[in-house]
Structures are given as structure tokens and as C-alpha cells.
């Protein structure tokens, strides 16, 4: 019984390969059924996002497990020859597999460290797998743990703090001027993906009214529909400058569309209420001298880029702390996983029974006193016989189930029924199995 992960992500495979191997939501159920039916795979979860496609499974044997999942990918997509994507696959097992899962959930493996989407995607993948009954006792526990690790990382580190996109950096800056954006008015001059994203973020953060002007008035009307805004003709926008608290400029013009004079007049009419200007156009469309006017705050694309870079650096630092949390949680997870192995459970059960027998015998033998060696032997024999008879059938069942997919379930039940986890014996088998884990060939990316 081992946990393995087979997959590829944005670092190991280009989009051409990822898109071919990706499994859509519609295909997911069928894929899970197929995965579960593979021989030697006891449990499985499929995570497919735009940046990664991976399968996490509980298998009976690591190497055959890897092979089965590769075959699963081949079956899923026949258009590509396996050679094309085999080199992009990473294969993890045991510790490394769990660590990988924890890192993915905590967004440490993401393209933008700390981005929040991947955790939701992982939750969905797990939920679907659970509904398809593709998961069992082990993956249920591992995925729930991965989700809680991700939450811990989010609350204990600042990995998700501060904007790492230009458009969001603009929103954060605006909040440093205005505090709350509710009821503020924004004016978008020009269009462009980044400018539209910034407006979208502003609206999401409470900006009430959006006015939009572009060189082509029809474009302005289209955009205005999307943001529930008001389209303006290019020549009339200066009249609305005084009304707008936030101005985003992104036109293709090669000259200053907004001059110092424009803003001076606007500020005067605004009675000194601050105004926040973002110029994302290159060449710049707002005269940089505008920033000299009191209560005017102007930022260009370089300023925003600088914020993004320093925030990314901050996230990298926080990621180190997050890795520590992941390692810590991995140790706890391993402890539980080890407890699910059948052989140490049998040993623990025997040890516990023997211990009880010994203690009770000593207690009663000293109470009785003055027994002949024969009498003593008889009583000891009686105790041993009761213990052995009682343990016989649980031990037989445990041994029978050791190789079946229910082994972990029985081991867990026995441990709980007999309260074996209080003092887990340090059995030589456990030590050797740990060594095997460390030396597992599946650790390296292939």
C-alpha cells in the first residue's frame, strides 16, 4: 500500500502537451471510473487544471502503479505518442507524493506562488473523486490534510498577501489613497486588456460608477455594457475629469492625452479631493508633471511593475516558511500512515495482550502466595490460553486482509478498538520500512 503521484505541470510540459492530456469536468467521472478499475489501484483522485494534470493514487506496488497510471494517460489520449509526453511526467511516491500534494494545495507549486485558485480546484477534484467512490480511507485523510495544510499556510504566512499582478497592484494603491473604494467613480480612457482588468478589479472592490471613453465610440459602448458603465465621446471626457476619483489611461496615442492643465482644473473643481491616476500606456499618455500637483497621485506601468516585483520577492520569502509547515505536517501524516500498516498492528496487538497478561498474573500470583510450581504453571497456562484464543480470530483476519485493499481499514479499526496508538511499539519492521521509503526510486522527476 503506497501513495503515488503521476503528472505534469507548467514547468515540466508546454501548453501543447498539457492541453492534450487535460481531463475536462465532463470527462472526469468516466476517467475516475476507469482509473479505479485499473488493477492494483485502490484509490485515486484526478486533478486537472490549466497548469497541471495529475493523478494521485493509492497502489499496492509503486512501480506497477506508475506503469498503470502511464497506461491510463495513454488510454485517455491517443493522439499523442507516449514518447512525446513521457519525459514531462513526474513520478512521486510515499513521502514525496504527499509532500507534492501538500505543496500543490498550498500553492507553492503554482506558477504564481500563493495564488488562491488551486486550492479550490483541488477541493473540487477531491469532492468529485469522493462522490465517485474513487477515494478510500487513505486519500480521504491525505486530501483533507492537504486542504488543512493549505489553510494553515495561508493564515500563518503572508504568502497570499499583496498584489502580484499589475492590475491588482493598481487597486491596492488606490486603497492607500481612498481607504474604501465604495462610491468612488472611475474613468477609463482607452482600452486594452490590462486596463480592462484593472477596471474589473476596481468594480469588484466597490467602485460605483465607471465612465469609459475610447477613440472609437462604438468600442466605448461595448465596454460600458460589460461594466455597467457610461460611454463618453473622446472629445467630451475632459469635462468629466473633475468627477472621477480614479483615472486609468491606456490609449495608443503618442502624445500626452491628459495634461497638467487638465488636472489642475479638475483638482480645483474637486475642491482638493485627491485624485488617483494610472497610466498604463507606453508611450505615456499622462504628463508626468501632473504628479507635482498637490493631492494628485500618478503612477505609470514601471511603478506598478516595481510593486509587483517586490511583492513577488516577499512571497518567495514567505514560501520558505510555508515549506517548513509542509514538512511539519508531512511528519504527522506519516505517523498516521505508518499506523495503517498491518504487520506493526499485529505486533502492537500482541505486545499489548502480553503486557496485560503479565501485569495481571503478577498481581494475582502475589495475592495468592504459597503456590506450588505446578499450580503456578497451570495458572500461567490458563492466562496464556485465554489471551491466545481471544486474539486468534482477529489476528487471522488481519493477516488475511494484509494484502487486500481493506487492510488499512482493518488496521485502523483494530488500533482504535484496542487503543493501540497510545504507545506504539518500536518494531524493527517499522524502522526498515521507513528506510525503504527514503530510498524509493520514485522521488526524482523523470
Amino acid at each position: 500500500m503506497d501513495i503515488i503521484v503521476v503528472g505534469l505541470n507548467h514547468r515540466t510540459a508546454p501548453i501543447e502537451i498539457r492541453e492534450k492530456l487535460s481531463i475536462s469536468d465532463a470527462q472526469l467521472r468516466e476517467a475516475l471510473i476507469r482509473l479505479k478499475s485499473c488493477h492494483g489501484i485502490d484509490e485515486g483522485v484526478i486533478l486537472s487544471t490549466c497548469n497541471r494534470v495529475e493523478v494521485c493514487a493509492v497502489v499496492q506496488q509503486v512501480q506497477t502503479g506508475f506503469q498503470r497510471i502511464k497506461e491510463f494517460f495513454e488510454d485517455h489520449h491517443t493522439g499523442l505518442s507516449p514518447e512525446e509526453w513521457n519525459a514531462s511526467l513526474y513520478l512521486y511516491s510515499a513521502d514525496e507524493a504527499i509532500r507534492h500534494l501538500f505543496r500543490v494545495a498550498s500553492s507553492l507549486d503554482s506558477m504564481v506562488i500563493g495564488e488562491p485558485q488551486v486550492l479550490g480546484q483541488l477541493k473540487d477534484a477531491f469532492d468529485t473523486a469522493m462522490h465517485q467512490k474513487a477515494t478510500g480511507i487513505i486519500l480521504n485523510k491525505v486530501f483533507r490534510k492537504a486542504i488543512s495544510v493549505a489553510k494553515r499556510v495561508r493564515t500563518e504566512t503572508k504568502i497570499a498577501e499583496n498584489a502580484v499582478s499589475i492590475s491588482f497592484a493598481a487597486v491596492e494603491l488606490a486603497k492607500k489613497v481612498f481607504g474604501r473604494l465604495e462610491g468612488k467613480e472611475a474613468l477609463l480612457v482607452g482600452a486594452g486588456e490590462m486596463a480592462e482588468l484593472a477596471v474589473r478589479h476596481l468594480v469588484d472592490n466597490g467602485v460605483g460608477k465607471v465612465m469609459i471613453t475610447t477613440r472609437n465610440f462604438d468600442n466605448a459602448i461595448d465596454l460600458a455594457k460589460r461594466f455597467n458603465g457610461i460611454p463618453l465621446r473622446l472629445e467630451e471626457f475632459p469635462r468629466y475629469l473633475a468627477e472621477s476619483d480614479i483615472l486609468i489611461c491606456s490609449t495608443g496615442a503618442s502624445h500626452y492625452v491628459i495634461t497638467e492643465e487638465h488636472i489642475r482644473q479638475a483638482i480645483q473643481r474637486r475642491k482638493n479631493r485627491p485624485v488617483f491616476l494610472i497610466d498604463i500606456s507606453v508611450p505615456r499618455n499622462i504628463d508626468p508633471h501632473v504628479n507635482r500637483i498637490d493631492n494628485v497621485f500618478l503612477y505609470d506601468i514601471d511603478d506598478l511593475q516595481l510593486i509587483v516585483e517586490s511583492n513577488l520577492e516577499g512571497r518567495q520569502k514567505e514560501a520558505l516558511k510555508a515549506e517548513e509547515i509542509v514538512s511539519e505536517e508531512l511528519t504527522a501524516m506519516n505517523k498516521w500512515l505508518k499506523s495503517l500498516e498491518v504487520v506493526p498492528t499485529i505486533t502492537a496487538l500482541r505486545t499489548k495482550a502480553d503486557e496485560i497478561r503479565r501485569v495481571e498474573l503478577n498481581k494475582f500470583l502475589s495475592k495468592l502466595g504459597g503456590l506450588t510450581p505446578e499450580q503456578r504453571e497451570t495458572i500461567e497456562g490458563l492466562a496464556a490460553s485465554i489471551v491466545n484464543k481471544l486474539l486468534h480470530s482477529p489476528l487471522v483476519v488481519l493477516k488475511d486482509e494484509a494484502r487486500s485493499e481493506n487492510g488499512a481499514l482493518y488496521a485502523d479499526a483494530v488500533r482504535r478498538l484496542f487503543n493501540l496508538d497510545k504507545d506504539l511499539p518500536h518494531h524493527p519492521h517499522r524502522a526498515s520500512s521507513e528506510k525503504e521509503d527514503d530510498a524509493d526510486p520514485g522521488e526524482e522527476k523523470v
Binding site: 486603497k175 481612498f178 474604501r180 474637486r270 482638493n272 479631493r273 516595481l306 517586490s310
Partner: protein
């Protein structure tokens, strides 16, 4: 007893000042923030007890000594800060308030505290109320002053694009400007009531006779009236409002301390 409490208060405010300054300079947002708030809170509790036990020990309310006035000023300043902290969560304000409160408290402690006879004209109820209101007014203007300083710092950081730790800790310009206005309104209301009660009381005792403190207080009252009016009518907000709050408070400090140093009159603190 009250002297022991006042010593504990001083130690707490001292630790509060140190930790608030450490918070201001520290790289991380949360370093020292708990400790500074706890020491300040404990200090404020002891301060309150000190004022009450002091009153009980003396047997009368004492606000007419400059040392008492300073003590009361420090106490109200910290109280207003704690209220602002719980309402608006502007922790960094403590880094500006606590040093001022500590200085006021220490100056109160070193100023003479001779026992006066409680039966002079200065010990009528309206005198206390008048003094307390004037001091509460000063607290409002002090907060406006500190918030104004914070505004100018944050404005400078935003303009020069220095997105450093201080920038992260200081609240947004709008919040600071709003707080400035609220503090001025608070200070102005207290001062207005204080002056009215003072004029009414003085009319019964000695009459209005244009002593330097009265002239200065009226000038300050007029100044803040114009400030508030200017905000609404001609847009004296944002940076301008921050400067005005700073200028105003310099005048307030002079009217409380400076006037006593230059002209020693009937209206002076003893």
C-alpha cells in the same frame, strides 16, 4: 498609594512608547503590536486608578495646577487613542500618541504640586468643568495634529513612490483626512462648551477682562471655526487640512503653556 500607581503608570507608558516606536520601525506588520497595546492598556488602567486615588487622598478635584492639567491631558489623550484603536484599528496612531502622552505625563510629574487650600475662588465646580473641557478640546486638536503629521508622511511616501514598511503601516489618506476632521470637530465642540461655561462662570465672579489666555483661546476657537468652515466651502481638506491641524495645535500648546510663561495672570495654572 497614588504615587506608587503613578510610577507604574509611567513605567507602562514608557514601555508602551518604546514598543510603539519599535512597531513603527520594525519590518513586520505584527511585531510588537500586541505588546505595545497591552502595556498601554495596563498603563491607562493604572493611570485611571492614580487619578481616582489622588482625588480621594486630597479630598477634592484638582485640575488647576499645570501638573494636574498635564496629567489629565495625558490620560484623555490615551483614552481617545484606545477608543480610536478599537473603533478604527489604526494601530500606528499609538506610535505618535504615546510619546506625546509620556512627555505630558512626565512634565506633569516634575512640575510643582504644592497643596493649595481648597476654598479659593479657583475651586468652584464650574472651574473644573471649564478646565476639563478646555483640556479635552486640546486632546481633540492633538489627535488632529498627529493625524495630520501621519497624513503628510503617507502623502510624501505615495508621491515619491516609496512603498516601504512605514507605507504599509500607515492608513490610507482618506481615512487620515476623515479622522482629522472628526478630531477637529471633537476638539472644537469641547472648546466651545468650555469657553461658554468659562464665560458664564467668570461673569458671575470677576467678569470678562481680556486676559492673554482668554484672547488666545478665542483666537484658537476662531481659527478652528475657519478651518471647519473652509473644509466645507473652499475645500481645505487633504494636505491643506493636515497643515492647518499642525499649525492649530502649535497655537493650542502656546495658549496652555506659553501664555503662563510670559504673562502670569489670574487665569494662569498655579
Amino acid at each position: 498609594m497614588s504615587s506608587l500607581f503613578s510610577k507604574i503608570t509611567i513605567v507602562c507608558y514608557f514601555l508602551g512608547t518604546l514598543s510603539f516606536l519599535a512597531y513603527l520601525l520594525a519590518g513586520k506588520k505584527e511585531s510588537f503590536s500586541r505588546f505595545s497595546l497591552y502595556t498601554t492598556g495596563i498603563g491607562f488602567a493604572f493611570h485611571t486608578v492614580t487619578l481616582i486615588t489622588g482625588m480621594i487622598e486630597k479630598g477634592y478635584v484638582s485640575l488647576t495646577l499645570l501638573s494636574d492639567a498635564m496629567d489629565f491631558f495625558a490620560w484623555s489623550l490615551v483614552m481617545v487613542f484606545l477608543l480610536v484603536e478599537f473603533r478604527f484599528r489604526i494601530h500606528v496612531l499609538g506610535s505618535f500618541v504615546l510619546p506625546i502622552a509620556l512627555v505630558a505625563l512626565l512634565s506633569g510629574a516634575v512640575l510643582p504640586t504644592e497643596i493649595q487650600s481648597p476654598d479659593t475662588a479657583m475651586h468652584m465646580a464650574w472651574v473644573y468643568i471649564h478646565t476639563a473641557l478646555a483640556l479635552l478640546g486640546a486632546v481633540g486638536f492633538a489627535i488632529a495634529f498627529l493625524v495630520g503629521v501621519m497624513y503628510l508622511i503617507q502623502e510624501r511616501l505615495l508621491k515619491s513612490k516609496q512603498f516601504n514598511n512605514l507605507y504599509n503601516k500607515l492608513p490610507s489618506l482618506d481615512i487620515l483626512d476623515d479622522l482629522n476632521q472628526k478630531a477637529v470637530i471633537l476638539g472644537f465642540s469641547f472648546l466651545t462648551t468650555g469657553i461658554i461655561i468659562g464665560a458664564w462662570g467668570a461673569g458671575k465672579v470677576s467678569g470678562w477682562y481680556w486676559d492673554p489666555r482668554e484672547v488666545f483661546s478665542l483666537a484658537i476657537w476662531l481659527f478652528y471655526l475657519i478651518v471647519l468652515h473652509g473644509r466645507i466651502t473652499v475645500g481645505w481638506r487633504a494636505k491643506k487640512a493636515a497643515y492647518l491641524a499642525i499649525i492649530g495645535f502649535i497655537g493650542v500648546v502656546f495658549s496652555f503653556v506659553g501664555v503662563d510663561l510670559i504673562w502670569k495672570g489670574q487665569h494662569s495654572f498655579l
